[in-house]
C-alpha cells in the first residue's frame, strides 16, 4: 500500500491543521477560486469592471455625502482620495468577510457529499476577492498618479499592512463561517455587522476625529491601523502609525488563530448540521 493508513474516529477538543493535506488540495483551491471568479462574471456585460465600479461608486457617494455635504475633515487631502485609499482595503475586508462567512453554507452540497479539507472554502473566498483587490489597487495607483501623489518611503511597510488585512479578513471569515453552518442568523446579521464595522473604522472620517483618550481602544480594531497606514503611505496624512498598526497586528494574529482553531473544532460537525 502506497498511502499510509487513515484512522477515523471521534475527535475531541482542539485539532491542529493538517498542512500537508492542504497542500495536496492546492489545485482544488485554485479551481474553486477560478470557479467563483468566472461564475461571478459569466453573462455580465461589464465583467471584471465591476471590481473597479464597487470601490469607485462608494467613493463618489461618500465624497458627496461626507466630504461635500457633511464637510468631514480629511486631513488636508482631497476627500475623494482620502476615502478611495480607505475603501480599497475596506472593500476587500468586507467582501472577504461576507463571502467566506457564507462559503460553507453556499457549498453545503459539497460539504455533505465529498471529503476535502474544509479550510479550502474560506481560503478560496479570500483568493477570489484578492483578484478584485488587485484590480482596485491598480485603480488606486492610476488615480494617485493622476493627482501626482507619490507614495513615501514607508511604501516598504505595505506588505505588513496587507498581512494584517489578510489575517483579519480570514480570521473573522473562518470564525463566522463555522458559526453560520449551525446558526443561519449569521447570514442575516452579517449585513448589519459589515455596516457597523465600517463606521467603527476610519473609512469615511479620520482617526484624528476620535477623542485622544479613546484612540488606543479604537485602534484595537485592526482595520484602523491598516487604513491609516494606507493613508500615511499614499497620502502622507501623518507619520506611519506604528503603534496602531502594531496593536492591530496583535489583534489580527489572535483573530486569525482563534478563527482557525474554532473552524477546526467545529469542522467535524459541518456535514451533520449543514
Amino acid at each position: 500500500m502506497s498511502a499510509p493508513a487513515i484512522i477515523l474516529r471521534r475527535k475531541k477538543g482542539w485539532i491542529g491543521v493538517n498542512w500537508g493535506e492542504l497542500v495536496r488540495y492546492k489545485d482544488l483551491l485554485w479551481f474553486l477560486t477560478i470557479r467563483s471568479i468566472k461564475a461571478k462574471y459569466a453573462q455580465s456585460v461589464l465583467g471584471v469592471s465591476w471590481a473597479i465600479i464597487q470601490p469607485l461608486f462608494s467613493t463618489l457617494v461618500y465624497t458627496v455625502v461626507f466630504g461635500n455635504l457633511a464637510r468631514i475633515d480629511s486631513n488636508g487631502v482631497p476627500y475623494f482620495l482620502f476615502s478611495l485609499v480607505a475603501l480599497v482595503p475596506w472593500t476587500f475586508f468586507s467582501n472577504t468577510l461576507t463571502e467566506s462567512a457564507n462559503s460553507l453554507v453556499t457549498n453545503a452540497n459539497l460539504v455533505t457529499k465529498v471529503y476535502f479539507p474544509r479550510l479550502v472554502l474560506p481560503l478560496s473566498s479570500v483568493f477570489s476577492k484578492g483578484i478584485d483587490f488587485l484590480i482596485g489597487f491598480i485603480l488606486l495607483v492610476v488615480v494617485l498618479a493622476g493627482y501626482r501623489q507619490m507614495p513615501g518611503l514607508s511604501l516598504i511597510l505595505l506588505p505588513w499592512l496587507l498581512l494584517v488585512l489578510l489575517m483579519t479578513s480570514l480570521g473573522t471569515g473562518m470564525l463566522l463561517s463555522a458559526l453560520a453552518v449551525q446558526y443561519r442568523d449569521v447570514k442575516y446579521g452579517l449585513v448589519f455587522l459589515v455596516q457597523l464595522l465600517m463606521y467603527a473604522a476610519p473609512v469615511v472620517y479620520p482617526t484624528t476625529n476620535v477623542p485622544d483618550s479613546y484612540q488606543t481602544m479604537y485602534a484595537l480594531n485592526p482595520m484602523v491601523g491598516v487604513i491609516e497606514g494606507f493613508r500615511s503611505i499614499f497620502l502622507h496624512t501623518m507619520p506611519f502609525p506604528f503603534f496602531w498598526v502594531g496593536l492591530g497586528s496583535g489583534v489580527s494574529i489572535l483573530l486569525f488563530l482563534g478563527g482557525l482553531f474554532f473552524f477546526r473544532k467545529m469542522e467535524r460537525l459541518f456535514a451533520d448540521v449543514a
Binding site: 502506497s2 487513515i6 477515523l8 457529499k113 471529503y115
Partner: protein
Amino acid sequence: MNAIEVNGLGKKYRLGQQEQKQETFTGSLWQALQAPLRNFQRIRNLSSFERQAESVFWALRDVSFTVQPGQVLGIIGHNGAGKSTLLKILSQITEPSEGEVILRGRVASLLEVGTGFHPELSGRDNVYMNGTILGMTKKEIDQKFDEIVDFSGVERHIDTPVKFYSSGMKVRRGFAVAAHLEPEILIVDEVLAVGDIGFQRKCLGKMRDVSGSGKTILFVSHQMAAIQSLCSRALLLHNGHVIKDDTVSNTIRAYLAEFESEESGFLHPGVVRQGSGDVQISGFELSDSAGAMIPATPSGSTVDLVFKLTSNAESSFEGLDIGFSVHSTEDDALLTILYSSYSGTVFSMTGNTATVRCRLLSLPLPEGRYLIKAQLMYRNEVLDFPVRGVGYLDVTGGDFYGTGVLPTRLTRTKPQFLISGQWTANQA
C-alpha cells in the same frame, strides 16, 4: 493486511423535537417572545447530546467488518438501514460517534455524480472542478482529460456551459470524471440509477475493470442485479446493524426475506366478498420453484402464486375454475388476467382445504408492488371474490435479460411489462 477495518462503528443523530403548543393568546405571545432563546438552545443542541438522551437516534451501531484488498463488497438494506451513513463515515464526510475505521490506501468516494458542477462554467472547467474536488491534482486530470471526454461521449459540448447540458449529459460527464480516479479504495453509492442503458452498461463495465485491477470497492445499490454481477460478498444492514455478512446470493436472499408481507390483511374473516361463499379463497402467498414461501421475487424469476381454498359446504366440487388478475397499486388498472380454464385446467375439491398453484415463468413485471385479485368460479357462477384483492405481489429489481441491466432504470417512465427477444442482423 486488510484494506478496510471497521470496529464497533456507531453514529448517533438527534431527533427533532416537537414544538409546544399554547392555548391562550397571552400564552402564544409569551412563547413568541421566548422563541429566540428556545431556538438558540435547540440549535445548539444539534451538536451536543448531553441532555434529552431519549431523542437520540443511532443510525449505525456496533458495525464491524473487514475488507480484503481487491474485494468488491456490496452493501444492501432498506431505506434508512444506515447505508448512506456508513458510506459518509468511510468517505470522511462525517465522523463516527464511537468505534473506529482504518483505511489503507487512497480513498475516493462517489456519493453523487457531478459534485461541484457549476452551471455557468463550461464542460472543460467543470471536469477540472469536479476532478479536484474528488481529490485529483491538475496534473492527473491533464493526463486523463482526453480519456475522460472520450468516455463521457459529449466531446462536442466541451466548451458549452453546463447549464445548457441535458441532465443525461451531466451524469455522463460526472461519472466519466469519477471513473478515472485511481484510488486504492473506491466507495460508490447508488449512482448508476441514472443515465441510459448504454451508459449504464459502460459504467458497470468500468467498475468491473477497476475491481479487476485489484482495487477495493464498496458498492451500495438497490439494484440486486448490479450487486450480484459486481460483488463477491455483501453486507445486509438493518436498523443500523449488520445482520448478514455473507456471499452475495445469501445476503440478497436475506434481504428479500426482509420485505414484510401484508397479505394477511386481505383475507381475514370480515373482508367484503362476493359470491355464494361455499368455497373461499382463504390464503395467498408467493413461493419459489422449490416450494419455499418468499415475500418478494425479482423480475425474470420463476415464481408460484399459491392460493389456499377452504370449503364450507358438505358437497364436493368438480370443475372449479380459479383466476387471478394483476393490478397496478396506484390506479388499480388491470395489467393482466389469467384463469386456469384459459389453458384448459379445472380443479376438483372434495375435502375441506386445497392448495392451487400457478407457476409463472420469467416474471415479466418490472420492480414494484402489484395488487393481486382472485376469483373462484363454479359452473359459471361466482363462488368467491374478495373485493379488495388477495394480496400483493412484490417484485424487486431482477436480472430479467440475464445481462445485469435492470429494466426499471432504463426509461424515465416505468414500463408496464417486460419482454425479451432474440436480436439478429443480416449484413447485406
